[in-house]
């Protein structure tokens, strides 16, 4: 359609010609009538203006059709005339009629003349929707142009164009599909094709199941013996294969590939469905029928034996016993030496606080993982100490708290009035620490304020930032400066009533009993540890009570002191302010020597009832107890209960072992006796005393597995004792080349203990492996070992804290073989101890026997000597000899007579 105006170009020439003719006609007319010449000229000008001659289309006259005109002529835009069909033929008469009726208003007025002169009957009106010629319609003024509009001569033009195109480039023409025309070939194909005409034969071959795969037996047979036993198949030439192939009829046809495809989605209708099933069961009658059937009887009988044998097999011989597993158990006990060593885990030292100082005591924090407390003392001899006494007053040795998370900076430091030689965490509240000073004072600390800090230290050094947020400001300041906080002690005992010399051992009494002034054990109602026992080489063992004494007892002097104590610095916890400087021991027990006047000087003590808090304990345990007292610390409110109300505990042993400065081991009782004449309380005489060690007893400790087995270490040897065996130690080591300085039982293996030596070595003894020498020796340090403390973190991690004389604390990991007992180690160790006790008894008896024998022997030799010395026998001797001989003769005679039955045995006695 768009082509139509273009195509009109081709007919432009002919159109022009016609216009020219038209003009000539007009001119001739104008010449003819001069009258209206002017008018016509003007009109002509108008007409020329209207035509589109300037655009090369003189035959086109643009027109404006108003809505009214469109309606009259039935050529309304978009209704009668559309863009697709922009042509409309109007009858000349209609237009003239329109011009007549509407005169000048008619839209055809400008082209009146053209219309009147138009040779044809119909005029072509074209819609000019694009306003190509300036108006909405245009009129085609000539017949030729009209024809060319209505029947555009496109074909000719296109052909011309294509002709020009082919010369230049090849255009691909896809083959056009044509309908197939049958020429009779299908009949031919049908003839050629092969169709199945015969019916297929079906065979079914079956066989009995049990014959499948079964062995086939072949046997020899004579072919001639049976008729038709032998059939010959001779070869012959098949004539079918002789014919030569001369012609071959082959047909081929190319067909387009055909592919058939289809898709369809099946829509399944969703439905609710349920299935229920129940087991098939027989009714009672059916069951009865089955049970009574012969088949079942047969079956049961046939099967019965098999079942019975199978059932009994398990009882007769257990074929499923795992020998390998049993083997593995034994193997572990022979574990390789390589993994039996202690592995260094961490070591702590401090250049500032530990300079020229030695570690005196080590204690693990009972609840917080990785916290260990170390008390240090000056590394000086007695003379040096006296010489430097002035200087030492200014340098106080603290107790340091180390954490695994920070090997350089101590977490906390406890200020000590004097060098502390021993200390222990309170078993019922790990924030209470009791220590023994060099000057004989007992010190108490309360670190409950810093518990959180220690807890946080445990989480790791990286956590210090977080902890700083929760901390009070003063701790924060210290953390930033990496300066550990000094915790002041909250109470010290009075100097006058306490020990005179250094306190060498301190223990908390267990929380289930307490002792009174007589040393009798009572039940402890509060359930917290309130009493301490200390020992010192000043020949005394003291019992201390943490609770405030009854106010009536207090003298005015003490009251004054107490008032003074209240004015203590504000940062000191007031937990034990009632005790400060006025604290007196509850009991003072002396160990007087039985034979001579004077006392033993104890250095170490071991009670029968002791706390073994070597294990990481559940924190809950500690939290329960304070709840009884509310939020406040229970130790602030302790009062001595009235003694009458308390129940005496009979089964609490009041015996204890003590090691002395001179190497003796003493077994005694702390119960006091009243002296018959004066009525004063005096301590009992020691029950047993043994001198085994050649030096100061450094350790005396009960086995954590057997309450009656005690290890004592001192001088150059160690000994193992059994409570109740009075004849001596059940095991005594030979003297070693180096002095033993400390010992400790293993917490997990009953037969193992560690002994520290002067030269920095650790001897590990395994009583089950060998008892004459340590099972292994390992070097830890270059200086003397001062303290050993094992600790069980978990079943997989056992630590051993070892401190040396230079102030270094080594944390070692105990290897698997040393920390894990074999299957019945405890029983075998117990058995070993029993055996030793028996051996000791036997030894004692033998000794007595030998002594007797020796005495006799001596007598004999003396006799002989006198005989030899005398040369000639004296008269008395001769007579004595004769008497003896006669007595012998009589005896002999009697024997023979009784043997012969001549003399009755009764007669002899008669």
């Amino acid at each position: 359609m768009l082509d139509s105006p273009k195509s009109s170009k081709s007919s432009a020439l002919s159109a022009k010609d016609s216009v020219k003719k038209l003009k000539i006609k007009e001119e001739t007319k104008a010449k003819g009538s001069a009258k209206g010449k002017r008018k016509q000229l003007g009109k002509k000008d108008e007409e020329v203006d209207i035509s589109m001659a300037s655009m090369g289309h003189p035959e086109i006259f643009p027109l404006v059709f108003t809505g009214k005109t469109q309606e009259i002529l039935n050529c309304r835009i978009n209704e009668d005339i559309t863009e697709e069909k922009p042509y409309k033929l109007l009858k000349k008469e209609d237009i003239i009629q329109d011009m007549k009726t509407r005169a000048a208003v008619s839209d055809f007025h400008p082209v009146k003349k053209i219309v009147l002169e138009y040779p044809g009957e119909e005029l072509l009106i074209v819609l000019d929707s694009e306003f190509k010629y300036g108006q909405n319609f245009y009129l085609v003024a000539t017949e030729e142009a009209k024809e060319s509009f209505l029947n555009p001569p496109e074909a000719e033009e296109e052909e011309a164009d294509t002709k020009e195109g082919t010369t230049e480039e090849y255009v691909y023409k896809p083959p056009v599909r044509k309908p197939w025309v049958s020429l009779g070939s299908e009949k031919e194909i049908e003839e050629e094709s092969v169709n199945e005409s015969l019916r297929k034969i079906k065979y079914m071959i079956s066989r009995v199941r049990r014959e499948f795969g079964s062995k086939v037996k072949f046997t020899d047979r004579n072919a001639s013996s049976v008729k038709d036993g032998y059939i010959e198949c001779t070869s012959y030439q098949d004539k079918n294969f002789i014919i030569k192939k001369l012609e071959k009829d082959v047909g081929a046809q190319v067909i387009p590939k055909v592919k058939e495809m289809s898709t369809q989605t099946k829509w399944t209708y969703p439905r609710n469905a349920a299935t229920q099933y129940f087991p098939r069961e027989f009714s009672d009658e059916e069951k009865e029928l089955c049970l009574s059937s012969e088949d079942l009887k047969e079956f049961i009988i046939s099967v019965f034996l098999r079942v019975e044998i199978a059932l009994q097999q398990n009882e007769i011989m257990n074929a499923f016993f795992d020998d390998w597993k049993a083997l593995a158990e034994d193997e572990s006990t022979f574990g390789g030496k390589s993994d039996a060593y202690l592995k260094e885990y961490q070591s702590f030292t401090d250049l500032h606080y530990l300079k020229h100082r030695t570690v005196s005591c080590v204690c693990w924090h009972p609840t917080i993982y990785g916290i260990i407390a170390v008390s240090v003392t000056e590394r000086l001899s007695y003379e040096e100490r006296i010489a430097q006494s002035g200087k030492l007053l200014l340098r106080k040795s603290p107790i340091l708290f180390w954490s695994f998370s920070d090997p350089i900076h101590p977490q906390l430091m406890l200020e000590c009035p004097e060098d502390v030689y021993c200390f222990e965490f309170c078993p019922s509240d790990p924030n209470i620490i009791a220590g023994g000073c060099m000057n004989g004072q007992v010190v108490l600390w309360d670190i409950s304020e810093y518990e959180e800090k220690l807890q946080n230290a445990k989480t790791g050094a990286g956590g210090s930032k977080n902890t700083a947020v929760n901390m009070p400001t003063f701790i924060q300041a210290q953390q930033s400066g990496k300066e550990p906080h000094f915790v002041r002690y909250c109470a010290v005992s009075s100097i006058e009533y306490g020990h005179k010399t250094v306190i060498t051992d301190i223990h908390w009494l267990p929380d289930y009993f307490e002792v009174n002034r007589m040393g009798i054990a009572f039940e402890n109602r509060i359930g917290v540890c309130v009493q301490l026992i200390t020992c010192s080489p000043d020949c005394s063992i003291l019992f201390w009570d943490l609770r405030a004494p009854k106010p009536t007892i207090q003298s005015s002097f003490e009251k004054a002191k107490e008032e003074k104590a209240i004015e203590a610095p504000p940062d000191v916890p007031t937990t034990f302010k009632h005790l400060d400087l006025s604290w007196r021991p509850l009991i003072k027990a002396n160990l007087s020597k039985s034979d001579t006047s004077g006392d033993y000087s104890p250095t170490k003590i071991s009670l029968a009832e002791e706390h073994f808090h070597y294990r990481m304990q559940d924190k809950m345990q500690y939290q329960i107890k304070p709840e009884i007292f509310g939020d406040e610390n229970p130790y602030k409110q302790l009062r001595v209960p009235s003694a009458k109300a308390l129940k005496i505990l009979e089964n609490i042993p009041t015996n204890f072992f003590v090691g002395t400065e001179d190497g003796e081991v003493i077994y005694s009782d702390w119960k006091m006796e009243r002296e018959s004449d004066s009525g004063r309380l005096i301590s009992q005489k020691p029950a047993n005393k043994y001198t085994i060690h050649d030096g100061v007893v450094r350790t005396i400790q009960r086995s954590p597995f057997f309450k009656d087995i005690i290890l004592s270490v001192g001088g150059w040897n160690f000994a193992i004792w059994k409570e109740g065996v009075t004849s001596g130690p059940i095991l005594q080591s030979c003297c070693s080349s180096k002095r033993y300085t400390v010992g400790h039982w293993s917490l997990s293996r009953a037969g193992v203990f560690f002994i520290g030596r002067e030269d920095g070595n650790i001897d590990i003894w395994d009583l089950l492996e060998k008892t004459h020498e340590p099972s292994q020796t390992q070097n830890i340090s270059i200086s003397m070992i001062t303290c050993i403390k094992p600790w069980i973190v978990s079943s997989k991690q056992h630590f051993l804290a070892i401190s040396d004389n230079f102030g270094t604390l080594h944390i070692l990991e105990i290897s698997w073989t040393l920390s894990h007992p074999s299957s019945n180690e405890r029983a075998s160790v117990d058995h070993y101890f029993e055996r030793e006790v028996k051996h000791l008894d036997y030894f004692e008896k033998r000794q007595e026997f030998r002594a007797k024998e020796r005495r006799e022997l001596e007598l004999e030799t003396q006799r002989k000597k006198t005989r030899v010395a005398g040369g000639q026998k004296s008269r008395e001797q001769m007579e004595e000899q004769l008497n003896i001989n006669y007595a012998d003769f009589l005896d002999e005679e009697k024997k023979i007579l009784t043997g012969l039955g001549l003399l009755k045995a009764t007669d002899r006695f008669a």
Partner: protein, 115 residues
């Protein structure tokens, strides 16, 4: 006679109970409660079928005679009857199960080695 034999098995040490089922796995006689019987019979039936067909596929002339299942907690012993024909309800299967401590599979290997 029949109950006598069953009683003898029941009275063996460690035996918890006996179930007798027919070839289709329908319980005929049981000394344990109903739900347990049904469960054991149903589960064991398919298992025995599988075990039997395994044995027969390996050697068609062979047949399953006894089956013991050792578990961690107990042991199930199964004594199947003659090969079942399609419709017969006769040949029953007996399932005694007894309490025995389990042994690891390694030991079972050892057992077979010992043999």
């Amino acid at each position: 006679m029949l109950s006598n034999l069953l009683f003898r098995i029941q009275s063996q040490k460690g035996v918890q109970g006996i179930i007798v089922v027919n070839s289709e796995g329908i319980p005929i006689k049981s000394t344990v409660d109903n739900s347990t019987t049904v469960q054991y019979a149903g589960l064991m039936h398919s298992f025995i079928m599988k075990a039997r067909s395994t044995v027969r596929d390996i050697d068609p002339q062979n047949d399953l005679t006894f089956l013991r299942i050792r578990s961690k907690k107990n042991e199930i012993m199964i004594a199947p009857g003659k090969s079942p024909s399609a419709l017969s309800i006769k040949p029953p299967v007996e399932i005694p199960f007894s309490q025995h401590v389990s042994r690891p599979s390694m030991a079972q290997n050892l057992y077979s080695l010992k043999k």
